[in-house]
């Protein structure tokens, strides 16, 4: 028995968020794509043609004929952009791997902790995520500077005699990404490891399997969904990261998020920054679809 009102409310529940996301998430991508085919102009908005029906339909057609792939050609000709894409992917890849190395033991330790303190540990992992990203990155400047706290500590303890140069290098970016995205790595790992049946390991060890090989043969494969989810959650946003390379990486670091930002804010070249965004999105489409499928699967299992 369906209530007569329910058909209308059903529709609204779906339609309102659907329309919102269409207008503010999906349609903007088409605008980005369109503007990436325009040419830079000294006007406001700073691109041409602007595509509109102001000159009638024939006007629109002639505007469409002005669109061109010149910006993309420009991106392939200037090695700067290609290098920025490659180095973003490499930096994000290395950082993701480091985050996995750091995050796995923590997630494992949390999953094996007594059940009574697990919620507290979980909250402690989530808490830094609630504090500002910008602030957490900023905090590292004071630590990594040549006269910063890390060098002071290392010099005072006599481990080094010369201050280490870390700020404005790739190492600083790795530290920044691992630090900022670590909760994203730990949480899926933890939820995969917590569900695991540890009697399997005991069984393996009873049968004479050494702990290390029990880990690689049982624990790690069973935690693989968490590993994949965690790596995607770190890798995808890290590729387009802007704040970390800008504040910790110094001027020589090439990362695509920073390049896009500079094209837009410093050079005011909207069409080229749109083209940079389109290519970045194309590179990320595959990992993003992987992520969505993993999410959908997890949702089905939760049912």
């Amino acid at each position: 028995m369906k209530h007569p009102l329910s058909a209308i409310t059903d529709r609204l529940v779906i339609a309102v968020p659907y329309l919102w996301l269409l207008v503010f998430f999906l349609i903007p991508f088409f605008i980005v794509f369109k503007i990436s085919l325009s040419t830079t102009a000294i006007a406001m908005p700073p691109y041409t043609p602007t595509l509109g029906l102001a000159d009638g339909f024939s006007g629109l057609l002639s505007q469409i004929s002005e669109l061109s792939f010149d910006n993309y050609l420009w991106l392939t000709q200037d090695a700067l952009y290609f290098n920025a894409y490659v180095s973003s992917a490499i930096i994000a890849g290395i950082s993701t791997f480091l985050a996995l190395l750091v995050g796995y033991p923590i997630a494992y330790g949390m999953a094996r902790a007594p059940a009574t303190i697990r919620p507290t540990l979980l909250m402690l992992v989530i808490l830094p995520f609630w504090t500002s990203f910008l602030i957490r990155v900023y905090a590292w400047i004071g630590i990594l500077k040549p006269e910063g706290l890390l060098n002071q500590l290392l010099l005072a303890t006599g481990i080094i005699d010369q201050p280490l140069v870390i700020l404005n290098t790739h190492s600083a970016i790795f530290i920044g990404i691992v630090y900022s995205y670590l909760p994203f790595m730990i949480l899926p790992l933890y939820s995969a490891l917590e569900k695991m049946d540890y009697s399997l390991i005991e069984a393996a060890q009873d049968l004479g399997c050494p702990p290390a090989s029990a880990f690689w043969k049982i624990t790690f494969p069973l935690s693989l969904p968490g590993v994949i989810a965690g790596c995607l959650l770190v890798f995808i946003p890290a590729v387009g990261e802007f704040v970390i390379p800008d504040l910790l990486g110094g001027s020589q670091t090439l990362m695509i998020g920073k390049t896009l930002w500079n094209e837009f804010f410093a050079n005011r070249d909207w069409p080229v920054s749109s083209a940079v965004a389109v290519i970045l999105l194309l590179l990320l489409v595959v990992p993003i679809m992987f992520f969505q499928q993993a999410q959908a699967r997890a949702q089905e299992q939760g049912r």
Binding site: L5, S6, L12, V13, I14, P17, Y18, W20, L21, F24, F25, I27, P28, F29, I31, V32, P45, V102, P105, I106, Y108, G109, M110, R112, P114, V125, L127, P128, W130, T131, S132, L134, I135, R136, Y138, A139, G142, I143, K145, L149, Y179, L182, I236, P237, G240, E241, F242, V243, L247, G257, L260, W261, F264, S274, L280, I288, Q292, Q295, Q299, G302
Partner: protein, 272 residues
């Protein structure tokens, strides 16, 4: 069985949490530094907090940030909860794949792309950039986080409660407000808080979508950080951290109390 909670596990956790918390702790400590240098301790002082409150630019930015945060978090919670309901309750409707894609993709979408695309939308439709566009942008990216938080609660929700209410003649809307909403309320509240913190923390999307007169605190902090690290910024950061920490701890205490109450009620019901 506690042999599994081995020395290795404890070491990993202690080192991990030290890594997560030490930078924030150091930042807070150095906000009370007498010296102008943020890395050399010169004695305890609260003078940076005083100069912070006398900094009109920062105070204006803080006010903009809080207003955008409150409005966008509230709107995002409504839209995100609807999106979560749509995803869990309606397994078949036209364009569901696209819809779930649009809910999950913003979670990982690089902020520069979201920011740029929203800005180009606002320019294309001729909206002046400012407080309004900033709020629209914040609603859009934070509603997806709310949707995920609420959805994870909804999938474990016992639908027989709703069916019982409907069988007894309650209309769907009434069922939602009297049965469903109270059960998923903790998730909705944490969704709101997440949306609020995401909003007050955001730098990249705000920089693209904001205009003159609507500078947020992160934008202000960012422009000052580029000029150099000062204890005043540390003080501003410490206040932001304190607000968030108090909010999160208060929410988790409320949740815990609710949980204890629920257990007690269940026990009472079983005895009765």
């Amino acid at each position: 069985m506690n042999s599994s909670w081995s020395r290795f596990n404890i070491t990993a956790i202690v080192l991990g949490f030290a890594f997560l918390y030490l930078p924030i702790v150091l930042l807070v400590i150095f906000s009370f530094n007498e010296s102008k240098l943020v890395t050399v301790w010169g004695g305890f002082s609260t003078k940076w907090y005083v100069s912070l409150f006398n900094n009109q630019g920062l105070m204006d930015a803080a006010w903009v940030t809080i207003r955008v945060g409150l409005i966008s978090a509230t709107m995002a919670t409504v839209l995100g909860t609807l999106a979560a309901l749509a995803l869990t309750r309606y397994t078949r409707f036209r364009g569901r794949v696209l819809f779930s894609g649009m809910v999950f993709a913003p979670l990982v979408m690089p902020e520069v792309i979201t920011g740029l695309s929203l800005l180009l939308l606002f320019v294309a439709v001729g909206l002046d950039r400012g407080f309004f566009t900033l709020t629209l942008a914040h609603i859009t990216f934070s509603m997806c986080f709310v949707a995920v938080v609420v959805q994870s609660r909804l999938v474990t929700f016992d639908r027989s409660l709703e069916e019982a209410a409907m069988d007894l003649g309650a209309p769907p809307v009434k069922t939602f407000f009297q049965i469903t909403l109270p059960v998923i309320l903790p998730a909705i509240i944490s969704g709101w808080m997440l949306a609020f913190t995401l909003s007050i923390d955001d730098l990249v999307i705000s920089s693209f979508t904001s205009g003159p007169g609507a500078t947020t605190l992160p934008m202000k902090i960012y422009s000052q950080v580029r000029l150099g690290v000062t204890p005043e910024i540390n003080a501003a950061c410490t206040i932001l951290i304190a607000i968030v920490a108090v909010g999160v701890i208060a929410a988790s205490l409320v949740n815990k109390r609710r949980e204890v109450q629920r257990l007690r009620d269940e026990q009472a019901a079983q005895r009765g």
